[in-house]
Symmetry: C2
Subunit: 684 residues, 2 copies
């Protein structure tokens, strides 16, 4: 069947787009994704492609949740075989599932050894963590309860020391104390890392972790006193067995209380070891968020890959006598799509610098040096918020961009959205995290204003730059754009970074005044904190992305387009709410003309990227297997694939389809159309 009589075939359209590339796809892939990532990706793809019976994901869209979970378990079983054969490392298994674009029910179990090693003694790590590293036991992290999430100290589960038997008694006193949302719990785990209120000799000591066996290692049945199950279907994340867990006075040995930060002796004497700093626990939160940030760019890359390829293919309207125009040629499509391509690159790109700094901090922490941990905490809070917001709503915009077909499951975009969405909520709700970043910046800025000691780092130095200004510094140095045209500003990434920086400083400054001068309660700073955290991220993302680009040789063919993506990202951040710019100090010379000019330059910058859109998403190298999308197919055969998938719908499928349609007709449709008519005609 001809695809379309009047226009080139959709695969030919993509091929034409690809001829426009001004850079090497291979080089870009290695530069943006990193050599290590590229090598692992290719290794995993080879495994997936060699065993399609286990790893092909095409039929998933028709599966009920139980079937999906079973398929993921089957894949996990195979992954563990490969692990035992030495072909996959423990740390590589999550990346395999990332390529399959869903999670194994074992996913959270794999995070438990790390948590035990941080919170437990060496002996405890040997007993509880090692079997999980060998995948001979499966744990789950049971902290959140039905009634408590953000407020960990409010959890209700108790662990009471029973001196007589040298045990702890774990109990769920209320309905809301039921552990809830716990990943890898509903079906999989045989023990739980339980956060519980420690009660010793009638005294509540706060929430501490304790290891509790929950299912028999013989037959996987719940142990006495344990009630456990799955919490039911969610918006996304179907293969994860998020579970609930209740304890009816369950006893475990005293040894099971993780004792790195607290010791309970045989007679119930509580001591706190002097050789460990509790900030180490804090670093676990930082790690969890760093991993999340790491993944977000890849997730957004999926969305922009589908939307770019499909809007390049999709033709609608156009000039008379010509082929209809690809919708990617329209302003309103470019305006929404190109900044997202830029932000996918910025997120993945900045991540190299972020990860480098994160690893340095983790090394510092291991040496008991906590100097850099505070900024890393502030950065992970705001970047976790920004990357998840940008990715989730970026994917959503990609769905709009695909028009009606974006609403079809076969676009892939609905799965991307639903299974990325939880990143806004978990590992610290984004709206709560914003306050953490703002608090760090506001306190530091106040200290600087009082000439007190304050950190010196990327986040604080930009704030410091605009405070206690040395009168000998010329304003044009401070406000580097004050003598420039909009065009000059828009083409100068260093000046754009200055603008992002001063906007951040000004928002921080306004909150400092409210809190320290006007006496506003910190609790009332939540709304202002959102804007500060976002402005902080926009600054840091551009700063780090720029540093990564600067690794390139000056003559690299990757440089011009990457700098353009950096500029688009920066201007997008500046124009997000232009009111923030108008409120800058007079010396910043923000005028209506300048803003209107920047808006014009923004559109020009966007348009300049149009020709590179398809090569850019190609270079992100998200394989078709991970996209699982008719609209995003690399070869451009989107409509053929779309039709093929539709024919596989259970209502159409040979066999099942005929049976269902016959039943629907006989039982409902025929009766609604004909009932009463027979009676009537029989009366005639």
């Amino acid at each position: 069947m001809t695809l379309n009589v009047k226009t080139p075939h959709s695969s030919e359209t993509l091929e034409n787009e690809r001829t426009k590339a001004t850079f090497s796809i291979e080089e870009m892939d290695r530069f943006i994704n990193g050599d290590e990532f590229v090598a692992l990706r290719e290794k995993l793809l080879a495994i997936m492609r060699s065993e399609p019976d286990i790893f092909d994901q095409k039929s998933n869209y028709f599966m009920a949740r139980t079937e999906k979970m079973e398929k993921a378990l089957k894949q996990e079983k195979r992954a563990i075989e490969l692990f035992r054969e030495g072909r996959l490392k423990f740390e590589e298994i999550p990346m395999l599932f990332n390529m399959l674009d869903w999670h194994s029910p074992y996913h959270f179990a794999r995070g438990i050894p790390g948590a035990i090693e941080v919170q437990g003694t060496k002996e405890q790590a040997e007993v509880f963590a090692k079997p999980v590293r060998n995948l001979r036991a499966l744990g789950c992290y049971a902290q959140t309860e039905m009634g408590h999430g953000s407020n960990v100290q409010g959890i209700e589960t108790t662990a009471t020391f029973i001196e007589e038997t040298d045990e702890f008694e774990i109990n769920s006193p209320t309905l809301t104390s039921t552990k809830w949302w716990i990943g890898s719990l509903g079906v999989v785990a045989n023990f739980a890392f339980v956060m519980a209120q420690l009660i010793i000799k009638g005294k509540r000591l706060g929430a501490f972790p304790i290891i509790v066996p929950i299912r028999s290692t013989e037959d996987h049945q719940p142990l006495p006193g344990i009630t456990v199950g799955d919490i039911g279907p969610k918006m996304g994340f179907p293969t994860m067995d998020n579970g609930f867990l209740r304890f009816d006075k369950v006893r475990v040995p005293r040894f099971n209380l993780l004792q790195r930060f607290i010791n309970v002796s045989r007679n119930g004497t509580v001591t706190v070891p002097s050789d460990v700093n509790p900030k180490i626990v804090y670093s676990a939160l930082v790690s969890a968020r760093a991993h999340l940030i790491n993944d977000m760019g890849i997730q957004l890359a999926k969305g922009v890959t589908v939307a770019t390829r499909y809007t390049a293919i999709r033709r609608q309207f156009g000039e008379p006598g010509k082929f209809e125009s690809p919708v990617l040629d329209y302003d309103i499509v470019q305006y929404r799509l190109i900044p997202l391509i830029a932000k996918a690159y910025a997120t993945i790109g900045m991540n190299h610098e972020f990860d480098r700094k994160y690893k340095l901090t983790m090394e510092d922490v291991k040496r008991d040096d906590f100097t850099t941990l505070q900024e890393m905490h502030a950065i992970t809070c705001s970047l976790k918020k920004w990357t998840s917001d940008t990715t989730v709503y970026g994917i959503d915009t990609c769905r709009h961009l695909c028009g009606g077909h974006g609403y079809s499951i076969f676009s892939g975009l609905n799965e991307f959205f639903s299974s990325t969405y939880q990143n806004i909520i978990w590992e610290g709700d984004n709206f709560v995290l914003a306050k953490q970043t703002a608090s760090y910046l506001v306190k530091s800025a106040f200290a600087i204003s009082r000439k007190e000691k304050a950190d010196s780092n990327d986040s604080i130095n930009i704030v410091r730059k605009f405070m206690n200004i040395d009168p000998r510094i010329a304003l044009e140095k401070l406000y580097s754009w004050s003598e420039m045209s909009a065009e000059q500003i828009a083409n100068n990434e260093s000046v754009l970074l200055d603008m992002l920086g001063i906007r951040l400083w000004h928002l921080v400054h306004k909150l400092v005044v409210k809190v320290y001068r006007d006496g506003q309660k910190w609790d009332e700073s939540s709304v202002a904190s959102q804007g500060i955290a976002t402005a902080h991220s926009e600054y840091i993302v551009c700063l780090y992305f720029g540093r990564h680009i600067n690794q390139l040789p000056q003559n690299s063919n990757l440089r011009p387009i990457l700098l353009q993506l950096l500029r688009v990202t920066a201007i997008s951040g500046l124009l997000r709410n232009t009111g923030d710019l108008f409120m800058l100090p007079k010396k910043a010379k923000i005028t209506e003309n300048l803003i209107t000019g920047l808006e014009t330059e923004y559109m020009k910058a966007i348009k300049s990227v149009r020709g590179q859109a398809v090569p850019l998403v190609d270079a992100l190298r998200i394989p078709d297997e991970k996209l699982n999308s008719s609209l995003g197919k690399y070869d451009g055969n989107v409509y053929e694939d779309y039709m093929k998938r539709a024919l596989d719908e259970p209502l159409n499928r040979k066999g099942s389809g005929e049976e269902i349609r016959k039943r629907f007709y006989k039982n409902y449709i025929e009766r609604t159309l004909k009932d009463g008519l027979d009676q009537k005609s029989s009366k005639l």
Copy 2:
């Protein structure tokens, strides 16, 4: 089991909130929803409650798509029985499904008679439309194709006149010409209202509608030459059988071409009847959008009902020695939730005025008077965009507000979101519609500036007010806020409306200058059009909502809270992008102080509504049956309901659950944990 040892029971919490009401819930329900709606709602609820076997929706969350469709068909069959018994009117059946909160696969079939009556002759209406009104035949509206949506003139399906046999031959020449997305087609319809390129004597005449039988009235099998099926799963809308349809040279009599706007004689002579105005077809688009706008407020009401009740119940953190605070007491929760309650009220409230004007326009059109149709078209375009954007992303915010539990299917919010989302895309993509509204406003403003004739109505008069200003009018009359404090402005709904109006005028003015003075192509106005359409909606919504409130007697106890909701809606619109305000003419006296002041007043206004939040959502009267949400239960027993639903998950359910879990353990979990170990131990 105790719910929570330390705090009042969640149902008690809601009861306490309800004692705070400053108005009568009954009166508010009748005023905001309207007496007619309230009466129908109660009638339908009584039917649903008396037949729970058919109408109870609780178990839907565990159903596969085919099961859901079967259940909806069963409900439709019962509805038609009630229709034949005279207990339900044809027009009331969609409202029954609205209360069930999903659609019948017959939904779009019910819209076909209207389309035929507009486009066909009286005789054709008798033959094709009447059987559908009696639910003895089922049609579908087959316009959209795989390759063409917005551009109707680009559709590829052909209807070629065959003079020899006095027939039309319907054909799908390409893959992309396949009719796609057609509601009520995949399983249900036995004929199609097909938009096809009319070809007569080798000449293409454009797209016209033609009636084509597609399934046998005997056994519902596809007729010769017809390929038909379901397009597969979507993001939401699971009970709708959106289908595809292909024609392989299918012949139909000449009579089947709907001939109100075109006549084709026996020998293929084409004539256009002189007594009809083609703008009538245009009015069909207006009607479809008006119905959509009508529904959006109710959809948003579902979201805010769940989020308000649950954030009133959910406690987290708080002052020492007190109960933990309901999260609804926190600024950042109020800031996101209260404006949405206000907008739900504004949308439902303004709808009374909107509907009144819409009906007047439809009466005008019937009398061949098209004067008011243009503004109605502009209004339905921008309101369709604003109400669907506000509702879909409002529901999304409600999901955030419920924290982790918002991500559970049992919150209801995921279904609300997924099955409302399509309203952004269909009946005209929101981004395309914005241009329609902007075009009307820009053209009218230009005409006014040239002292040419222009419409006089709500949309244009506010633009006119600021153009060709009579120098004798004092500025303080024009810029009514110029001598006022932020507090005075924020408490004066008439001044707020003026500000919304001048902002609209200024955005329109800027585009007029670009297009008419600077020669910018209209195609490049898409981005600016988005802001204009939104500003236009914000103005119209507040204007109409205000008019509805003014129907109330001055001493009504509903007035104060409704005016406060109007003010919150208006300020929310003004502060959406404060840069637009800063760019107003100097005479408007927009200063940083004023904006900061308005931000403070906005938060004060939001806080003043906090106490009424639960009574306000109660008065919207969305029944528990429609919410189908653990978190939004009227009686407040949210955690009990949540646990009960989780236990019904297939993985937990008695019988099925044990079987599945045993299989998972034996086939996967046990083998991953123990494989190799046995071998090893046998070697020892």
